[in-house]
């Protein structure tokens, strides 16, 4: 191929396809390059019949390709037709492996060695990346595959699955679910256990093996593949396994390496970083544009709009207003000062230091998710103990922080450009001070997810936030009357550290006086008694440990280890000691808190001789609860099995108050010493489920409830990300007749979650192709009286508890 194209578009997802369509429409010479033999591989791989949603609703679609909510099949079919209609020049099986050259003459190389020239490049390859390949002799045989579309397609085969992550386990379970299919499934796992998989998946796999439905081998790696046999290296030596099909689920390599090899810079080293982009989507490599999921915009509508915009920019249109302009107008509506969107953006960049390094494109994105506030003098921004994890910045005006709850007069003023709210942002816990507007003030509120993205994008923001947060935390803990000089000294010798779950911070009996402030996560305090580690207490974010030894001769009196992955601020013990000596009033305060801890120590110490089984039980129950994820919970449902009569009225109540779908499964889950942890949301401090929700539909309500709003697109990411298996993908069941018509006339299925058969019979036509969306417990947000499950339990077995008190559930005396 000798021609040089104006634009080569790599990747035919919604972003690339829309770009190609627009290039075709305005007559630019173009080529759309796609690795697979079909359009839009990410969407192609959705499960059959998946309903695709077109969110956000308010955003207009600006593309020559049409897109509306509908099934996967419809969407792909329409796109295939429109591809022909627009005369898009598409090349399938064109796997781009290298881009060299400069703007005006890029050289694109494919995996099969062929090449192609283009003046500009649009990279729209998404974030799925390439599956890691099975690198053994025979690994390229035709019966090796990297994906499983429909497990029902395979019959009477010897199937080997390589890789014991969630994907591998789910495939193995799917292939062996129906014994009628007669498949013999073996899963190979390199490690000695299934640590990378969700505990529920690992447990299901073990159960399936015990039941003889499938087999797995741990500490085993494939060595060689020949038609019909795979040789593997197991702990007992080499073994030959019969093999008709191999499904390798070895994870995927993100496309970042490839993108960087093109000369494109990213915003930072973290996993969350994205390519640095100009307002016109151009990367740091001139002539290469990045759009779509790879640019950090996972929603299909965004992708398509960007395809259009990028081509307009390449074609020389410099006055194009992005499609989100009306949305941004709304964000800035109602503020004093008559500025337009670009005026406000410029103002923000100039006044708020954390925005300084952002590109206008990034700032637009942040502002779409953020809110602007205008507060009259004296109005409250937030109050101490409010739940909130957003970050605030003062755009103009002044706020006063009331740092001392006992004396409202003690305030710390913050002026233009300064930020606050970062402690809630980092720890996920309640606000530690009340904040009021000191003058008429304009504020920007950045929600947690966007703020974290900001921190990941701009290193200077991370440093600033770390420093401010440490300082504030020291002040909230030890009092706001610390002099600046001392603060400086403490900060200078402090250190920020990240610890894994189980990592030991302090070891009993060892010397040491450093102080550890828990910034996020939580730690456990344990003491050795009679050769056993006895659980003493649980310390959550916003508190500190390690002060005892300063008063007890420099020797650690207990062991402290991280309960979950935590961020810790370590203060130098010598400096802290001198600080306390110089500040007797603070020393007194610290000593007060120590008394309580001494008390517990003394109690446990007293049990040493006749080690009581009560203490033993207490610490084993605490450990059990922490294993069940309660170390990161903010509010969890527990069931006292000595009271539970199995009536399932809790589930009935949940279904009654939540569209007929119960969000808790009472019977499932683990039990220890009569305490049962049912399958139900823990409202985690830092919810895993929020991690990659394309429309950002999972939110935290003002009272701490983690809930899913109506913008859920049903992608199932949250279901996969929640380690506790509490999210279900469900259709809303049809409306049921009321309680009275059931009671008196037997109409409908009665209260509670209706049975499957009834739902199927009563779904109207419109509901047939209604999408499945994610449903989970919302802690009965907005329902007066609070959690229905707890209120509806006739015996008091069901309780909801916060992390501080649940560890005491075990101390209940009789009932």
């Amino acid at each position: 191929m000798g021609d040089v194209f104006d634009i080569a578009i790599i990747g035919s997802g919604p972003a690339g396809l829309s770009a190609a369509a627009h290039a075709a429409k305005i007559g630019l010479s173009h080529i759309l390059l796609e690795k697979t033999d079909h359009l839009s591989d990410t969407i192609f791989k959705y499960q059959k019949g998946k309903h695709i949603m077109a969110t956000p609703d308010q955003l207009v679609l600006r593309s020559d390709i049409s897109f509306a909510a509908g099934s996967r099949e419809q969407t792909l079919q329409i796109w295939d037709e429109e591809l022909k209609f627009h005369g898009i020049n598409v090349k399938y099986q064109a796997d781009v492996v290298e881009i060299t050259g400069e703007k005006g003459d890029f050289l694109i190389r494919f995996s099969n060695g062929s090449e192609l020239h283009a003046r500009n490049i649009i990279l729209a390859i998404g974030t799925a990346g390439n599956p890691n390949k099975l690198r053994i002799p025979g690994g390229d045989l035709p019966f090796v595959q990297y994906q499983l579309d429909d497990p029902k397609e395979y019959f009477d085969e010897d199937i080997i699955i390589v890789g014991g992550g969630d994907a591998g386990i789910e495939n193995a379970m799917g292939l062996s679910a129906d014994p009628e299919q007669g498949n013999r499934v073996v899963l190979l796992q390199r490690g000695p256990d299934f640590a990378r998989a969700k505990p529920a998946n690992a447990a299901a796999l073990t159960q399936a093996k015990e039941a003889g439905r499938l087999d797995f081998m741990v500490s085993t790696t494939p060595v060689k593949l020949e038609p019909g046999v795979m040789t593997v290296e197991s702990p007992e030596g080499p073994v030959e396994l019969p093999c008709d099909r191999v499904i390798a689920r070895l994870g995927a390599a993100p496309p970042r390496k490839f993108v960087e090899s093109c000369g494109i810079e990213f915003t930072g080293p973290d996993r969350e970083a994205f390519p640095v982009l100009s307002e016109s989507f151009e990367t740091t490599k001139q002539g290469i544009y990045v759009i779509g999921a790879l640019a950090g915009y996972p929603l299909i509508k965004h992708c398509m709009n960007q395809g259009y915009d990028a081509v307009e920019h390449i074609n020389g249109n410099t006055t194009l207003k992005p499609a989100d302009e009306p949305l941004l107008e709304k964000v800035f509506a109602g503020l004093p000062g008559k500025l337009d969107v670009s005026g406000w953006l410029a103002e923000l960049k100039q006044r708020v230091s954390i925005f300084q390094d952002l590109s206008t494109l990034q700032l637009r994105e942040f502002m779409l998710e953020s809110r602007m506030h205008f507060k009259e003098k004296g109005k409250i921004v937030f109050e101490r103990n409010d739940i909130g994890s957003s970050l605030f910045a003062v755009v103009a005006g002044r706020v006063d922080i009331e740092v001392d709850p006992n004396n409202k007069k003690i305030i710390v003023p913050l002026g233009d450009g300064e930020i606050f709210g970062e402690i809630g942002l980092i720890s996920g816990r309640r606000r530690s001070a009340t904040v009021r507007a000191g003058t008429p003030t304009i504020l920007v509120e950045i929600p947690r997810r966007a703020a974290l993205k900001l921190i990941a994008t701009v290193p200077a923001v991370k440093r600033a936030i770390d420093r401010i947060a440490t300082e504030r935390q020291i002040k909230t803990i030890f009092g706001s009357d610390i002099s600046d000089a001392w603060m400086k000294r403490l900060l200078e010798s402090s250190e920020m550290m990240e610890v894994r779950a189980g990592e030991v911070l302090i070891e009993e009996g060892k010397p040491g006086t450093d102080i550890f402030i828990i910034r996020s996560g939580s730690v456990l305090v344990e003491k050795e008694v009679g050769g056993k580690q006895v659980f003493l207490s649980y310390v959550s974010a916003g508190n500190y440990v390690g002060e005892m030894s300063l008063f007890e001769g420099g020797e650690r009196t207990a062991t402290v280890k991280a309960a979950i992955k935590s961020e810790i601020i370590r203060l130098n013990g010598d400096d802290f000691d001198q600080f306390l000596r110089a500040n007797p009033q603070i020393r007194d305060r610290v000593e007060e808190t120590i008394d309580a801890r001494r008390e517990v120590n003394r109690f446990v110490e007293a049990q040493k001789g006749s080690f009581s089984s009560v203490v033993d039980l207490y610490s084993s129950v605490a450990n059990f609860l922490l294993e069940q994820g309660l170390g990161e919970a903010t509010d969890a449902l527990l069931i006292d099995e000595s009271l539970c009569i199995g009536c399932d009225n809790c589930e009935l109540a949940c279904a009654e108050t939540h569209d007929g779908i119960s969000r808790l499964d009472r019977e499932a889950g683990k039990t220890y010493a009569n305490i049962h942890v049912p399958t139900s949301c823990r409202h985690c401090e830092h919810p895993h489920c929020m991690a990659d929700c394309p429309p950002n539909a999972i939110r935290r309500a003002p009272d701490g409830e983690v809930f899913i709003n109506e913008t859920c697109i049903g992608c199932g990411n949250c279901q996969r990300n929640c380690p506790y298996g509490v999210i279900q993908m469900e259709k809303m069941p049809p409306k049921r007749p009321g309680l009275l018509s059931w009671l008196f006339f037997g109409k409908g299925p009665g209260p509670g979650q209706p049975p499957k058969e009834w739902v199927e019979q009563n779904h109207g036509l419109d509901q047939q192709d209604m999408p499945k969306t994610a449903v989970k417990c919302d802690m009965c947000k907005g329902i007066k009286g609070g959690p229905a499950c707890v209120r509806a339990c006739p015996t008091g077995a069901a309780i909801r508890v916060s992390p501080e008190s649940y560890l005491n559930v075990t101390q209940r005396e009789g009932n």
Partner: protein
């Protein structure tokens, strides 16, 4: 310190059962009501003798009838999950103690006049409801712990699935066996009942269980056959034994569930009979007045 504060709905970890609800609030109320009734009964000198027709009799009768209506309303309260501060636990607690206070209130209302009539019928039905309620309390207090221990983290669905799995294994392993062993095993697969009617469930076992029988026969046969058949039969026996253990667990589970429920089969229908008798009692009183 930045201690998170608890939300209102979060219980104190020292949560109480329905019997101890709010520091025995309703027990105290019930005792007080009963004492007041007794006091009223003996203080007020009714002529010629206390009965339902006297002033105190009417008062007690009205209170009793209203109480019964309110007690019946628990069935609705339990299912109408409306918003608001109510807690079913409190309702159950009140239900139990105020229900028991009826023993005093209604008995005094009768003035100890019994006979073969609709009045006494209503009284007897009421006492029957109360006695069945007492059974309920007994089971609520004693069964949950046993049930929890027995199910050992597996849910009912898990149990059934595991049994189905074992059956699949049995079918597979039995196929190559000669007769009569195959048909023994097949019987264990197809003829085993997990549980049966009310009495079977309450007993927690199933007489003549096909699995137990197959296990006995196969075990007996092992010593009488030649290798390699003996080893095959050993395998079959071990799976059958596992099924037996699982069956025991499932049957016990059914037993416990039934224990927690079956008294309601008396409590609720008797309640409706009581309501009918109560209506008849009230109407007849007004007619013959």
């Amino acid at each position: 310190m930045a201690r998170p504060v608890g939300k209102a709905h979060r219980q104190d970890a020292r949560h109480e059962s329905f019997l101890r609800h709010a520091g025995f609030r309703y027990l105290k109320l019930a005792v007080m009501m009963s004492l007041a009734a007794i006091l009223g009964y003996f203080m007020v000198d009714a002529e010629p003798r206390p009965n339902g027709g006297s002033l105190i009799g009417y008062t007690l009768g009205t209170i009793g009838a209203l109480l019964i209506l309110w007690l019946t309303f628990l069935g609705v309260r339990k299912r109408a999950i409306t918003a608001g501060r109510w807690k079913l636990k409190g309702w159950t607690s009140a239900h139990v103690y105020l229900g028991l206070s009826l023993i005093v209130i209604a008995t005094l209302h009768t003035g100890f006049q019994f006979g073969w009539n609709v009045h006494t019928l209503a009284y007897v039905l009421m006492m029957a409801v109360i006695i069945s309620g007492l059974f309920g309390i007994f089971y609520y207090a004693s069964v949950p712990q046993q049930m929890s221990r027995n199910r050992a983290e597996s849910s009912e669905v898990d149990m059934l699935e595991e049994l189905a799995d074992i059956d699949r294994q049995l079918e597979e392993i039995a196929q190559p066996l000669p007769q009569p062993y195959v048909s023994w095993v097949q019987k264990a697969v197809t003829k085993t009942k997990i549980t049966g009617g009310l009495f079977t469930r309450l007993s927690g076992r199933v007489g003549n269980c096909a699995t137990a029988k197959a296990l006995d026969k196969i075990r007996a046969a092992i010593s009488e056959v030649e290798p390699p058949l003996d080893e095959q039969l050993e395998n079959v026996a071990s799976i059958l034994a596992r099924k037996n253990v699982m069956l025991e667990r499932a049957r016990l589970h059914a037993k416990y569930k039934t224990l927690l429920e079956f008294w309601l089969y008396f409590h609720v229908p008797l309640t409706f009979a009581l309501l009918a008798a109560l209506l008849a009692h009230i109407i007849s009183v007004f007619f013959y007045w």
